[in-house]
Amino acid sequence: MSKLYSGAEIVFKCMEDQNVDHIFGYPGGAVLPIYDELQNFKSIKHVLVRHEQGAGHAAEGYARSSGKPGVILVTSGPGATNVVTALTDAYMDSIPLVCISGQVPTHLIGTDAFQECDTTGITRPCTKHNWLVKDINDLAETIHKAFEVATTGRPGPVLVDIPKDIQFQKTKYKKPKKENKLNGKSHNHFNQNSIDQLIDLMSKSSKPIFYTGGGVINSGPKASELLRELVYATGFPITSTLQGLGSFPGDDNQFLGMLGMHGTYEANNAMHDCDLMINIGARFDDRITGKIDEFSPKSKKVHIDIDPSSINKNVKVDLAIVGDVKTVLSSTLKSLKQKKSKFLKSNKQKTSKWWEKIQKWRSVRSLDYIGSEETIKPQYAIERLYELTKDKDSYITTEVGQHQMWAAQHYKFNKPNRWMTSGGLGTMGYGLPAAVGVQVAHPKKLVIDIAGEASVLMTIQEMSTAVQYKLPIKIFILNNQYMGMVRQWQELLHDKNYSESYTAALPDFVKLAEAYNCVGIRAKTPEELDDKIIEMLNTDRPVIFDCMVDKVENCFPMIPSGKPHNQMILGPKDQESKKITGKGKSLV
C-alpha cells in the first residue's frame, strides 16, 4: 500500500511536482498545519511578507518577470480578504497566480467562526476559477488543476481554499495528470484561411500599423522574437500598449512609442489614420481607444487574441484570429515567406508616404518637456535613470500615476518580462512588493521600482521583507508631494480644485529607509542627480531614493476625456511656448 500523506504535505508535494521554488505568504491559524510542513520541503522557499496584499503583488512580480506562476499562501478571513486586491490586479492584467488559502474547519463553515469568511464567494469574480476543497481525496487533483487553469489559455489567478481539518487528514498522493485539453477548451481556433486573409490585407495596405499588447509577453519570449521578425519582414510601424512594452525594442526606428491616453503623438495619430490595424495580444482597453465611436474610423482591423471573449468586446473587428500569439505569428511568418518572399521590398514603395506622415508627427516631439536647472523635472529623472542603467538588463516595476506614465514614456525597454506595472486595475502600492517578487526570481539583476511618494506609502511595509531577505531592490521615488495624476486631472478638468490630493506630513524617506535598516538617498537638484543615482546603483542593499521633483509638472501628451486619438493635448511647449521661452528656460 502506498504511503498516506496529510493534506498539508499534499499541498507541498503538489508544489514540488509543479516546480514551485518560491512561495509568498503570511501564516495564521487556519494555515498552521501547512506552515508546520514547510521545513520538510527544502526545495520550496517561503518569503514572509508584511501584508497579504504584498504577497499577492510579489507573486505577480515573480510571475511577470519569470514566466512561471506566482504562488501565494495565506490564512483564512483577513488573510484572504487582504489578497483580493492582488488577485483582481492579476485578473485584469492576465498574470498566472495560484493562491492557497486556509479556511476554518469544515464543521465550522457557515457558523461565523473566528477568522471565517466566504473566501470562494469573495474571490469568485476576481479569479479564473476557485475551489473549496471539502474532501481530502480531491485535494491533490484540485491543486494540479489550479496550476493548469492559472497557466493555460489567457493566464490569470486561481484560488484553492483548504479547511484546516482537511490539512490534517491523510490520503494517498496523486501525481498531476497530463491533460490535453481543459474541459474541451482548446486555445488555437484559427486556420490557414485566416492567416492567408491577414497576409492579403497586409499586402494591400498602404497605411498599416501593428498594435501590440501584453499578450505577446504572456505568450513567452519566443513570441517577442517572432514579433520582431514579422515587424522587420514587413517594414510596418509598431506601437505598444503599456503592458506590451519590451516585446519590441523601445529604441528601434520602427517603434512609435506607447499609444493611448499618455501615448505619443505619432502612435495615436497613426492609429487614427491607418488603413490596417493589426492588434496582437491587446484588448482595445478604454485608455487605449479614447472615444470609441471615433476610434480609427478608416481602418480594417485584425485582432489576434487567445481569449475569444476579447474579440468584438469593445471594438468590432474585420478579421479575428483566436489563438496563442506565438503560434499565430509563427504561421504568419511561414506563410509570408512562402507567398511573399520579397514583401519588404515590394512594400517599401507602398508605405513610403505613410512613413513620411509618421515622421511629420514624430517631429512634433510630443514627449519633450521644459527642462530646468533648479528643480529636477520628473521626466529628466527617468531619462537619467535610463541612461545610467540601460546597459544593466534591469527590471523595472512601477506604482500607479504620473511616475508610471513617465516611466513608460521615457524608459526604453528592449526585452520582454523587464517591465512590471499595474495596468488594468491601476493598483497604487503595486510596485514595491512586485519588485520584491522580481528580485526573488532574479537575485543577481538590478530591480528598480519607479514610484510615487503617495503610492509607495500604501505598501511601504514590504521594505522590511526586502531587508529580511537581503533583496537589494531600489525604490526610486519621484516625490512631488501630490497624488500627481489626481492633481493633474483636478487642474485640467476640475477648475484647479485640488481636493485632498496634497499629502501634508509625508515621512522623511531617508530616515524611513534608516528605520527599515536599508539605505536612504535624497536628490534635490538636477546637478547632483547623476551622482546620487550612481551611488544608489553601487549600493548592494535595498535603497529608498527620494528624488525631489517639480511639484506641479503634468504628464503630456494626453488624450483628454472622451476625445478621439487625433485630438491630443500636447505639452506646455506647445501651449505656452512664448511665455516659457521668455523666461529663458532650456528645452530638453
Partner: protein, 182 residues
Amino acid sequence: MPSSKSAYSFSNKKEKFDTHIIVVWVDNEAGVLARVVGLFSGRGYNIESLAVAQVDEKLKISRITIVTTGTPQVINQIKLQLRKLVPVHKVADFKREDKAVIFKEMALFKIVGTNNKLEGALKACKKYNPILLDKTKKSNVIQITALRREIDKMSKDLKKFGLVSVSRTGAVAMTRGADIFK
C-alpha cells in the same frame, strides 16, 4: 451627458435590445449557479428568468436556461464569457422569435371565490392545458404551461375571478424535430 469631467468616454448610440434564451450545460458542483449568475450581475447583463436543474445524474450535468435581453454585441459577449467558465461544457443561444425552438414556462394560480368564479377561471385557462391540482369548496389551484407573455396575460385576466397567488418558473427550451442543441 457629462462630457468634460470624466476619464471615460460616453457613447450616445442607442441600439436595439433583443430577447435571447441562453442554455448552458454545467457541472453540477458547489457554487456553479453563483458563477453563472455572478457573471451576469458583474458585467451588467440582464436576467429576465432563470431555470436550473440537474439533467444527467450520472455525469452530474445541470442545464441552466436564462432569458436575457441585450444588443447583439452584449449577447455575443454573454456567450463568450460563459464559455470561459471552467465548469461550463456548452452554451446554446436562441432568439425568442426562433420557430425551431419550443419555449415553455409553467405557472400555478390559486383562485379563491365562489363556484362561479372558480369555473370561470378554469375556463379562461382552457387554451393553456389547465390542470386542476387542488380543489376545495372555496379554492382552486390551476397549473398551466405557456409562453411568458401568455402567462403575463393570464395573471392579469384571472384577477377578476379571484386570483390570490401566482407562482411561476423561468422558461425552459427544447428544439423541435430530431435535432438537439449543439
